[in-house]
């Protein structure tokens, strides 16, 4: 069940209605039940895998408290348990063919057949959440959860299951104890988040993804440079709106249950440098990486090399953090390059601070902030190339972006005036005009949010604009209902 389907909203609304009327002791079991039902819409097998996963972490958590003997060993075991889960279910393409061959050789598997393991929904997100759960217990930031049902809600809670946000147990679990009361303010916020999320997903992300031909990412050399540039812009905004839209929807739905989920995006393309970018893009994962990779790496290196400007202190923490981020997205060379590029960006932008401390971003001249935004966006967009395609294609894509073909403006004029037969659009070597309109609308949408200064900016919009946006959303949804394509969420694959 996708979170943009009518069935999802109706089911979630009914579930929240019942939840609000249940006695307190039945609320968490109810959340487990409906979340399990949600998982079953993908596969009942996933429920079993996630139950084993939850039980393992629950038991390991009980052994990880620092007042218990060998707690460090248990924490390490817990991390290995989670990483192993990830390897078995997500990265099995590395070993499954060989393992299948081995089983075939001993006669346990029929010749020619290959073992297949399905990736349970949201596993990558669950793994990082549980590692932080175990580490936080070991650092006394959190007491081990003693109620397995409550812990199951932490694992299975359906609004955050598919693609986060990556919630820390120490923040999420207390929220289960005291759900926010349903009042007008909460209902309005929920509506703003859901409407904003749906607009981002249905009106911006899906069309922008669709408008990029699939072969652009496999054979970019077949296209004119200007097309590749506009498709990269489209991809950058599609990816952002896809994930930000998803997060908005699930945060809004979660408020029906009175449970606040953390924000994940804060206008990342308004970032003035990459340090700021990583506080605005996939915030919950970035914070996790900062707290559990960057800071520990920095601290460990500082102990060995006390100078802040030592090459290792300067280079390794951001590089290691962003490489881990790349690996989290997928164990492939292109994801490593994507992570590596961002690590490199972070290192390079810190170079001037070796000589003199840089002024806080808000205090820098306006032109410098704008230039910073442009540069950050351009380099972030360039890094999306290996994020989307394998390395040989990515190299061709980067190369192809500089090989522009002269647009056939004469042909366009002749076609418009009727002196030439209509032969299609692609022959003119011009960007898809619909893509430009959607891109402009997506940028404008962000601009409104930026001016309003909050994610729920639709609450401040004039009535006519609110109504217009609802009409546009319904129009796009109606056309999508009739269209011949479907568009899953990109981050659901991670």
């Amino acid at each position: 069940m996708t979170v943009t389907s009518l069935l999802f909203f109706l089911s979630a609304f009914a579930a929240a209605f019942i939840y609000r009327r249940l006695p307190e002791k039945w609320r968490n079991p109810w959340l487990v039940l409906i979340s399990a039902a949600f998982v079953v819409t993908w596969s009942w097998k996933f429920v079993l895998v996630l139950l084993v996963f939850a039980l393992g972490n629950f038991l390991l958590g009980r052994r990880s408290a620092p007042d218990l003997a060998h707690f460090k060993a248990w924490v390490r075991s817990g991390i290995v348990f989670n990483v192993l889960f990830l390897f078995v279910f997500k990265y099995n393409h590395f070993f499954l063919p060989e393992f299948s061959t081995l089983l075939q050789s001993i006669g346990w598997l029929e010749p020619g057949s290959i073992l297949k393991i399905l990736l349970p929904v949201g596993l990558s997100f669950l793994v990082v959440q549980n590692i932080s759960y175990l580490l936080d217990i070991s650092k006394k930031r959190l007491k081990p959860e003693t109620n397995f049902v409550k812990f199951l809600v932490y694992i299975l809670y359906f609004p955050k299951l598919l693609s986060g946000p990556v919630e820390r147990a120490r923040i999420f679990l207390p929220r289960l104890e005291k759900p926010l009361p349903l009042d007008r303010s909460l209902a309005e916020r929920s509506a703003a988040l859901i409407l904003g999320g749906l607009l981002r997903k249905i009106v911006f992300a899906n069309p922008l993804f669709d408008m990029i031909p699939g072969t652009a990412f496999t054979a970019p050399q077949d296209y004119a440079g200007q097309q590749l540039v506009f498709w990269l812009l489209a991809y950058a905004f599609a990816l952002y709106n896809d994930f930000a839209g998803y997060t908005g929807i699930v945060r809004g739905v979660s408020l029906w249950f009175g449970i606040e989920l953390s924000p994940n995006f804060n206008l990342p393309y308004y970032s003035r440098n990459f340090t700021e970018f990583w506080t605005r893009w996939h915030i919950t994962l970035s914070n996790w990486l900062r707290d559990y990779i960057f800071f520990p790496t920095s601290r460990a290196l500082m102990r060995r090399y006390p100078s802040r400007n030592h090459l290792f202190n300067f280079v390794l923490p951001p590089m290691v953090t962003l490489l881990v981020s790349g690996m989290w997205h997928g164990l492939s060379w292109n994801m490593l390059v994507w992570g590596g590029l961002h690590g490199l960006y972070l290192v390079l932008e810190r170079v001037p601070s070796l000589w003199r401390p840089s002024a806080p971003l808000d205090e820098q001249p306006r032109w410098k902030q704008r230039a910073g935004r442009a540069v950050t966006f351009i380099f972030a967009a360039l890094a999306w190339v290996p994020f989307r395609m394998d390395l040989p294609a990515a190299l061709k894509y980067w190369q192809g972006m500089f090989l522009w073909k002269t647009p056939d403006l004469l042909g366009l004029a002749q076609t418009i005036t009727g002196s030439r037969l209509i032969s299609g659009w692609s022959g003119f070597n011009l960007p898809n005009p619909i893509l430009l309109v959607v891109l402009a609308a997506a940028i404008l949408f962000d601009h409104f949010q930026h001016r309003a200064g909050r994610e729920e900016f639709l609450l401040d919009a004039p009535r006519w604009l609110q109504v217009l946006l609802v009409v546009v959303l319904l129009g796009a949804a109606l056309l999508a209902f009739f269209s011949d394509t479907t568009a899953p969420f990109v981050y659901q694959a991670f």
């Binding site: 207390p174 926010l180 309005e188 606040e260 209509i422 692609s426 729920e456 609450l459 401040d460 056309l479």
Partner: protein
């Protein structure tokens, strides 16, 4: 800390007006707009002013033919003869020429529409024939067929996609869906459906191509082809990779019984119309290389003629291919805008000759309202 965040959240002040109320207003406005569109779409003025419509199926050309026929019937009060077949019919027969030539020879004025659609073999054509006969009640059908129609594996992709479409399911009454119902019954949907794939990468190309083809296709359903073929008289090379698929598909040619059954369904339409006429286009002989040569073709024609006659149809043998010069052809099986009027004239002569020989003549639909949409 968590509780602090929760408390902070509650402090968000709602705007001066409720977004939820705006959302409700938005839904009402949207519904009202749809109703207004539905109402306007049902006016003749709107249909004339905005001719671009769609059935929401993947086959653009089928849609063009469908709406052109709808317009044709509205403008002419009905249709007497519908031509069925594939792309060869689409570009190869000009109904206006056929009609005027036939009138010249017999004195009978026929309203003829070309419903030849690219890629449609006898299998989907049998379904299309039934739909058209039930909707427009023509006096006669002329089905232009060819050897490929009777190869079981040929044209399956088009057939499967077209027949699996919700609009067809709604037409034939099999597994109806909400979407299919809307596609079939809503005039507003007809005008929105051309834009349903607005976000696809190929939309500007396909939409412009749709507009062009819609404009190119005459009101009688004929779509002229301006191309002039090259090397039509050269035998196709079985070793040429571009030709390999054709040779593989049509070697060891046999007529599929299932496909004959589909032809039977078309011939059955003769019960409610005049006998269905079946013929073949004047194909250039190199075309038959794929099937094993002219001898195989003659065997096929002989079998087909017997089958058509035995099942109540009329078989007109193909006219002499040498009557259509090479420069009037696009390739060895399609005619261009010079070949089509020529063949249409020859076909009219053949039909008139058959009429005078057998006294079985094409006639317009009788009765005042007959032939209109019922």
């Amino acid at each position: 800390m968590a509780q602090q965040t929760q408390a902070q959240t509650r402090q968000h002040k709602p705007g001066t007006h409720s977004l939820i109320v705006s959302a409700v207003i938005g839904v009402i406005v949207f519904m009202a707009l749809l109703l207004i569109l539905e109402g306007i779409s049902r006016t003749a003025w709107f249909e004339h002013a905005v001719p671009v419509r769609s059935l929401g199926i993947y086959h653009n050309q089928f849609e063009i033919k469908w709406f052109k026929l709808q317009n044709y019937v509205q403008e002419n009060g009905g249709v007497d003869l519908i031509l069925l077949g594939n792309s060869m019919v689409n570009t190869g027969i000009d109904p206006d020429v056929l009609s005027s030539e036939y009138e010249k020879l017999t004195g009978v004025k026929l309203r003829i529409f070309n419903f030849g659609v690219e890629g449609l073999t006898v299998a989907p054509n049998s379904v299309v024939a039934k739909i058209l006969v039930e909707k427009y009640h023509p006096a006669a059908l002329l089905f232009v067929t060819e050897m490929r129609d009777y190869v079981a594996a040929n044209g399956l992709e088009v057939e499967n996609q077209l027949m699996a479409d919700e609009w067809f399911a709604e037409q034939t009454g099999s597994s109806p869906t909400l979407r299919g119902w809307l596609k079939f019954n809503s005039k507003a949907a007809e005008h929105l459906l051309p834009f349903r794939n607005w976000s696809r990468a190929d939309f500007p190309d396909t939409f412009l191509s749709f507009l062009r083809r819609y404009g190119d296709t005459t009101s009688a359903g004929y779509e002229p082809d301006r191309n002039v073929g090259k090397d039509i008289d050269k035998h196709p090379d079985p070793n040429d990779p571009a030709e390999a698929a054709n040779f593989a598909m049509f070697k060891d040619y046999t007529i599929s019984p299932e496909r004959l059954q589909d032809l039977h369904h078309i011939l059955d339409m003769g019960i409610s119309t005049q006998p269905v006429i079946v013929t073949e286009m004047p194909l250039y002989p190199t075309y038959f290389d794929y099937f094993g040569g002219e001898e195989v073709h003659q065997q096929y024609l002989s079998s087909l003629a017997s089958y058509v006659s035995e099942n109540g149809g009329v078989f007109l043998p193909p006219i002499d291919w040498q009557l259509i010069p090479l420069e009037d052809r696009v390739d060895h099986h399609h005619l261009n805008l010079n070949g089509a009027p020529l063949y249409s004239t020859l076909l009219a002569q053949q039909l008139a000759q058959y009429c005078s020989d057998t006294n079985v003549c094409l006639q317009p639909v009788s009765g005042v309202n007959a032939g209109g949409i019922r």
